[in-house]
Symmetry: C2
Subunit: 599 residues, 2 copies
């Protein structure tokens, strides 16, 4: 079995539980059909298995080194990137007009997901570059695009996002990096940027940084932030690489996981002029940066899912092949040992992983599909409606997998026991890698404030109303299967409690108190949305059992079992959390810093 993908499951989600067929019937995606996409998935699977997966442990054990102001990486890292680039995959995420494959984004997520599962630290360089290219394509001037875009699209140069500074992590209002206008329209950039993934490396000839900085005399706070394209090396008039742009690598951060991706502290313009180019308008920087935030946050969620999947597949394979102990009903030591997948608690740990990972994976594809559907819709109201739903789902896409697919990684270790705790097996590495996802691209707490403080209130709660409508459609289709009635009732009830909770919290005048348990609300909303995703899968599985092929019976039964598991073991937790949110419980909020220890 593959350690990076269950192709049957991808097919199930795409063509049985979701509507990829409809997307492929549109003019926008006319160049693709199921057959060509299958071939593409197979190609990516083999490159990921052959060029990414084998070096994952070595890259983790031999992280990039900071030597004489530069970065040194192991050759396998570049080899993986070359294999990806040589297959033309750098262009998978773009439209045809800028040289891309114009794939449905949900398919692009699946293609790239295999590389993420195999070796996310390599993939991160590629992922960041895609974000920069998309941002430049949407917000940049024709001149900037002419100079930089194609090199990024082709993967010849890589890109980074430079937001945080040592004194300003989540609080971008407090960044101090400066951009002083020069006579030729460019800017002189100065300042220190922190946590910059891929900020320095020995993999591409140039690095294109997207940098948030403040121009003189702008407004305070986030309203005075502008976005600049700042290349590591300047370009000559003919577009060839010129002199250094004076971006100094101060140091590398040494992370618990994701070690193959450099994480840098950069000084801009410390020892000479560092030139940047405005992207969009002055003081519009944050809006421009956030233009890509929905996609970025879904991709972070997808990384959490795929990192969880790696642990699930490995631990499942291990459990099905590791003899240990006997059935409780007959422990006669003269009997041979059974495979540990026969033990109830091992099944529980495997099922928990399955329910978390496949539930979240479905949400990632579903959300990506919304973006694809927006692009083929000509109806502005429909596009706006989809946008509202997407905005509501985004903090869930970012946070829920970061929490629960990490939990899955923890269980994968437990399935392997002592072996799982050693670096000789991959599951501990995946656990370490996944711990990152709750932190970058907006922390867990930030996502909580986003959903309860902003998203549920957009347009007088329109997003939640749309969620209710779309869930109702799933409930309607579930009504054709008697066996799913238990779940429909539970989902509808939980959603009702969530709606009431939002209404209750909205009446609280103390905004800070209203949001004190926002993270719990986010967690509960995530559970409700994932339950919905499982009900969608259950409907498709029930249909499959009625109409599908006999060889798929176990697959469909597994989907129905996972649905049962999620609704019985997990969904009840949402109600408990929502009760605390609705009660405006202030147990934590009221605490003073002294009360923790008494001093």
């Amino acid at each position: 079995m593959s350690m990076i993908v269950n192709r049957r499951d991808v097919d199930f989600m795409f063509y049985e539980a979701l509507d990829l067929d409809k997307l492929l019937a549109s003019e926008r995606y006319a160049d693709h059909d199921r057959e060509s996409l299958d071939a593409m998935l197979s190609l990516c699977q083999s490159i990921a298995e052959e060029e990414f997966l084998p070096s994952a442990a070595k890259l983790d054990a031999n992280e990039p080194q900071f030597i004489d102001g530069a970065v040194k990486t192991i050759p396998e890292l570049k080899q993986g990137i070359n294999a990806y680039r040589d297959a033309g995959l750098c262009t998978s995420g773009y439209d045809a007009d800028i040289g891309g494959m114009q794939l449905p984004w949900m398919v692009d997520q699946a293609l790239n997901g295999m590389f993420v599962c195999a070796n996310n630290p390599i993939h991160t360089y590629l992922f960041l570059t895609q974000g920069v290219a998309n941002m430049l394509n949407v917000c940049g001037s024709d001149e900037l695009k002419a100079k930089y875009l194609n090199k990024l699209v082709e993967g010849e140069w890589f890109g980074t996002m430079c937001l945080s500074e040592p004194q300003a992590g989540s609080s971008l209002a407090d960044i101090r990096s400066k951009a002083e206008p020069l006579a030729d329209g460019s800017y002189k950039i100065s300042g220190t940027k922190m946590w910059i993934s891929g900020g320095e490396q020995d993999l591409s000839d140039n690095i294109i940084h997207m940098v948030l900085a403040k121009v003189p005399n702008g407004p305070d706070g986030v309203k005075g932030i502008s976005l600049f394209l700042v290349p590591k090396r300047r370009l000559n008039g003919d577009g060839t690489l010129g002199e250094s742009n004076n971006i100094a690598l101060v140091g590398l951060n040494h992370k618990m996981g994701n070690r193959g991706t450099t994480n840098t502290l950069l000084n801009f313009g410390e020892n000479g002029d560092c030139i940047g180019f405005l992207v969009g308008q002055e003081n519009d920087g944050l809006a421009n940066m956030f233009h890509m935030m929905n996609e970025a946050r879904i991709s972070v969620g997808m990384a959490a899912v795929m990192t969880g999947l790696g642990g699930y597949l490995y631990s499942l394979d291990y459990a099905r092949n590791r003899p240990q102990g006997r059935h409780l009903a007959d422990k006669n030591p003269q009997l041979p040992q059974v495979m540990i997948s026969e033990h109830a608690d091992i099944k529980r740990m495997l099922m928990t992983q399955k329910a978390f990972i496949e539930g979240a994976q479905m949400l990632m594809y579903y959300s990506a599909q919304i973006i694809d559907q927006q692009k083929i819709s000509g109806d502005r109201d429909e596009i706006a409606r989809m946008q509202l739903l997407l905005e509501l789902l985004t903090p869930i896409c970012k946070s829920w997998p970061s929490e629960y697919c990490l939990e899955a990684n923890k269980l994968a270790i437990q399935v392997l026991g002592g072996y799982g705790y050693t670096r000789e097996y991959p599951v501990e590495r995946l656990y370490r890698d996944n711990r990152l996802n709750h932190i970058h691209e907006g922390t867990w707490g930030i996502q909580g404030l986003d959903i309860l403080g902003r998203k549920v209130h957009m347009h007088n709660g329109a997003a939640v109303a749309i969620l209710r409508e779309d869930i109702q459609r799933t409930l309607d289709s579930a009504a054709h299967h008697n066996t799913l009635g238990e779940y429909s009732t539970a989902l509808s009830r939980a959603l009702g409690i969530m709606e009431q909770t939002i209404a209750t919290v909205a009446q609280c005048d103390d905004k800070a108190l209203a949001l004190a348990n926002a993270t719990l609300f986010l967690d509960a909303a995530g559970h409700i949305v994932i339950a919905w995703m499982w009900l969608k899968q259950a409907v498709a599985a029930a249909n499959g059992l009625q109409n599908g092929v006999a060889a798929d019976v176990a697959f469909y039964q597994g989907k129905l079992a996972a649905t049962a598991f999620f609704f019985r073991y997990e969904l009840p937790k949402a109600t408990t959390n929502l009760a605390l949110v609705a009660a405006l419980d202030s147990t934590c909020y009221d605490l003073t810093a002294e009360q923790f220890l008494g001093v």
Copy 2:
């Protein structure tokens, strides 16, 4: 503030919430009083802070190496051990008759807990040695004790436990190591042992292995296991060190955390005779090994607590000193940033850590106190009663902190954000270290089977009845404080549901089905016991607010807030889990290995 202990809290638990005073009034502990113990705690705190804590990161980054068949460790490891030994601390865990300090074990747990928090990988060598010495003292012959015991007690030689083998981890029935009787009464040992912590090192002149092996023609399974003392180097007639005993180090396991403790694969007698000495009687090996299991499992729980505490203290200190962002009520960027301990979600994450860690720490001291009380009681019935309660609590002591104090470590990382994810800060190391505790000394699943399959049924449920009686005593004392009524009601109700659940499950004829959700039962029982521990602390805090000094008001308020948090945010989860157990839910149990993926 200290990064390894909150001394005020230790005092609170010992003298306000528990009964150390009563222990100290007994003849057995007459050599100690509060003053002497305070001095001892202070001494240990400074040695741990000065000789253990500073090398923790370096030891993690420079784990022991396997060079030419031997182990090489960094000098700081031996330096820490020497400081501990030179202070006479190796003898802290033993009675006076074998040269020990004869401390109450709850105090010994607190003393050693500071070393665990500071640098558990160093302490593990010492901890294992104590287990071996105690086992030898209880089960060994006078001759063996005369030769080996004092060297172990003094910490001159170290000890190990050799249970697992490559084909037999949790399933000890399947061990294959052999012990053939020799004419002189000793045995020839052969076989391979795995996961042996401290199995080889360059720290002590000799290593005393306690090895499970099978004598010829014994019964099958666990009934045919015997226990042997097997030294790394044999002793000459005069007790001096003699020749090698042919125990080969095959390799070291490379762990995710706890890296400073060697974890070894050992071959006994591969290249020459390996001589072992029977401890206790033939075929009594498992019983002898388990003689110390309650203490060992409580110590594992204590390690989980202290590893969690390290993260909590560090993240609390960080949060109180790290400015970032502003209050939600006024986000004016011209205002200075506030400390992140002011943010509601940071408070939630700190409070969750506090509630988990201090709740579990209280349980560890409480359980240790039971062992101490057994030793000063002359009443056999009372001792038997305490033993039953201890047996019931032991799987909770082992597992609950392994789960929830790891969760606390996860939150400590989150409080630090990106910094927390780097090896420049200790919180990620503590998270990695703590992941071990769910695995060794009986996995999570094993503990679940132990409590629901065995412990709750002992003597017709006597242990649970004793738990009910002792909880009732706490409810009675809580009745003096009106503010605690909410908690008493909730605890009594949850305990009742647990009792009903046990009764329901007991009626199930399918034993395997009855135990299918044993891990969930363990989790729920843990939540109920920890809620009890918090109610005990709440009573003491409420008393303290009435009678204590003004300087302690914030401390007591923090205890009451943590009680509120645990009862409101956590205890409800127990009911959800118990409902699944009582329903004999078979969602996971029914799964076949094929249904996970469909193949």
